[in-house]
Amino acid sequence: MRMAVEGMGIVSTVGNAPQDLARAARHILQEEGMPLAVSKIDTGDLARYASSRALRRVDHFTRMALLAAYSALEDAGLEAAELEHTGIILATGYGPVKLTFDFLDSIIDFGPEMASPQAFAHSVHNIPAATIALMMSLRGPCFSICQLDTAVTAAALAAQTWLAEKRVTRVLLGAVDEYTALLETNTQRIAESLPAESSGGRRRLVPGEGAVFFCLHADPGMARHGFIEAMPPAESFLDAPVFFSGSASPEQRKAFPQAHDLSPLYGNMPIGMAFDAAVALLAVREQLSPALEKCPAVHCLSRNRFGMTGRILVTSGECA
């Protein structure tokens, strides 16, 4: 089932507007390998949607998620109060890591009898999605999915499942991960212990962070940006470009003649596929020209460390 993309929200190190993403993607596609200017994630715009009081205990991971979700709604021309029968699905590779380690810090620093209950409670993986539900007063289904490199495909399939059975009429589908210095150290140590050909091409890639949200609807007439659809993996794709993320080695990427690696845009990130899908939605609307000429469809693939590959097909309206 194709899901109509009504709106899209981006929070990234290359900027938070779709045109920022398009500019960065064009740079990578035209000058693959050239460094890309990135900056620290800025979630200051959240103040446009929520009071500082409401945000005072909200951590960085959840701020990124909230800003991307609100931006997707705004892009769709919707307000939270208008949302009925709406579900939330949040995909992540590691969950709110910073809070997890904040709780460990509090155990180490103050002992278990004085450890921070708030850091513990808020480090539970479904709290960011629950915060979105709470702040938008959404009482539909609210799922969080955690797995490396295939969480976005899994989340898209869950959204399709809900829309197909009319459990909801709309889904806020998002993906979030955050950077920590410890994650970078560990990732580097692990990558260095692997031979180059099996490191998934990410040996020198710094862990990234960011969030992407899509506002999805079952009605094809609501497709402002195009469509996305979780699909079973296939052996080859000759009909359209491929954006390949995750643990794919250069050899595995070569199996797809039109494969592009956009990972410099988002870094080493288990939910990189969500950024690929966002760029693909720009591509099918011809917003990556001249770096990528008219392409009514893009395959987004993400491969995990066991070789399992998730696939999302992004299409324009004319590719129905």
Binding site: I107, R139, A154
Partner: protein, 400 residues
């Protein structure tokens, strides 16, 4: 929401403190013998002891790939999966000709609770990466799919304490919509020092064996384990001539949108989830023979559940099984869905371990002795951090 019809359950497996297979566990639930103890796998630095329900035996699955070093969570899940596959009459090789999905709920099993590793980092050491590799290899749904060579969708649901129920609910939709022929679904979680400290600091852990719905209840005891079901399409089951042990009739899930760690005081989200699950099943509250309540033993949870049960199911017997298993977090919804199916088939529910005196403020008592139940359907309900509420309506198995 579309009414999709019953989804067949052809296998069930369970590991928890009450037993390392479903039959032993059900027998333990009948006898009510329980023995929560101080945690054995880590040394608690608390001055007070909070008992937990650990799996007593050293569980190791035969499906662990050579050289792999998997988490306890995955071992519990694999072990329960082996029991479920055996009961379903399925060998791993049988699965390769089918579209097999894996959908597992967890909480601890997807968390970076690397306390000792992190402590060493903080001390300026460079610890071995073994715990990191274990984490990377031990995403529950991915690890099960990898062990089986499954080719269908793979999903690890992390909805805190409703994860196991949510995984089964979503898996049932995959079957109903023809996305998979077979789905291995359920939940798994292990005891963790981090979680143990967290629940104590939230002041919702009991220093005594827990007493769900009792007037003297003082909180929860943590538990661990896994519950796995095999769901199949009617065509797949008929082809194999496999008995249907139970059915998933409906699933409802709703958010409270009220508070991040406390349920809505009137159970708003829970009522929505119940209504949705009954609608999906094409049933009414009068069709429900009994309810397996979430029943953690905390003041808030049991109060809200009692309000909802009194309003929607005033005459329907209910039970909490956490007095026998502890709160197994991401596994709880799956383990309890399996208990619900088994008790529906058996025609009765055992006494709720730990309950002895009704709380006059709740005006709701779980079964305090074996209670015969009649009918074709029952409910298992799960509440979670974040205000998640999930409800499975399950039915008896039908003759082929």
């Amino acid at each position: 929401m579309l009414h999709s019809g019953p989804v067949s359950v052809t296998g069930m497996g369970c590991v928890c403190a009450a037993g390392t297979n479903l039959q032993d566990t059900l027998r333990a639930l009948e006898t009510g013998q329980r023995n929560p103890l101080p945690p054995s796998r880590f040394k608690s630095e608390h001055s007070r002891i909070f008992p937990v329900f650990e799996v007593a035996e050293h569980i190791r699955s035969t499906h662990e790939k050579p050289g792999a070093d998997l988490s306890m969570t995955v071992h519990f899940a694999l072990y329960a999966m082996e029991e479920a596959l055996l009961q379903a009459g399925l060998a791993v090789s049988d699965l390769h000709s089918h579209r097999v999905g894996v959908c597992i709920g967890t909480s601890v099993g997807a968390s970076l609770n690397l306390l000792d590793f992190y402590r060493a980092i903080r001390a300026g050491q460079t610890p071995e990466l073994e715990p990191v590799h274990r984490y990377l290899d031990s995403n529950p749904a991915v690890a099960l799919a990898h062990a089986l060579g499954a080719s269908g969708p793979v999903q690890t649901v992390v909805n805190a304490c409703s994860s196991g129920a949510d995984a089964i609910g979503l898996a049932a939709s995959w079957i109903a919509q023809g996305i998979c022929d077979i789905v291995i679904a359920g939940g798994a979680d292990e005891m963790s020092e981090v979680t143990y400290n967290g629940f104590i600091r939230l002041m919702i852990a009991d220093q005594s064996p827990c007493r769900p719905f009792d007037t003297s209840r003082g909180g929860l005891n943590l538990g661990e384990g896994a519950g796995i079901v095999i769901l199949e399409t009617a065509a797949c089951r008929a082809q194999r001539n496999a008995p249907e042990l139970a059915t998933v009739l409906g699933f409802g899930t709703a958010a409270d949108a009220h508070h991040l760690t406390a349920p809505h005081p009137q159970g708003l989200g829970l009522k929505l989830a119940i209504s949705e699950a009954l609608n999906a099943a094409g049933l009414t509250s009068a069709d429900i023979s009994f309810i397996n309540a979430h029943g953690t033993g905390t003041a808030n949870n049991d109060t809200v559940e009692a309000i909802v049960l009194n309003e929607l199911f005033p005459q329907t017997p209910f039970i909490s099984t956490k007095g026998m298993t502890g709160h197994t977090l991401g596994a709880a919804g799956a383990i309890e869905a399996i208990f619900t199916m088994a008790h529906l088939t058996a025609g009765g529910i055992p006494a709720s371990a730990g309950f002895s005196e009704e709380d006059p403020l709740l005006n709701a008592s779980p079964a305090h002795a074996f209670t015969p139940v009649q009918g074709q359907a029952a409910i298992s309900q799960s509440l979670a951090f974040g205000g998640n509420n999930s409800v499975l309506v399950v039915g008896k198995g039908r003759a082929i």
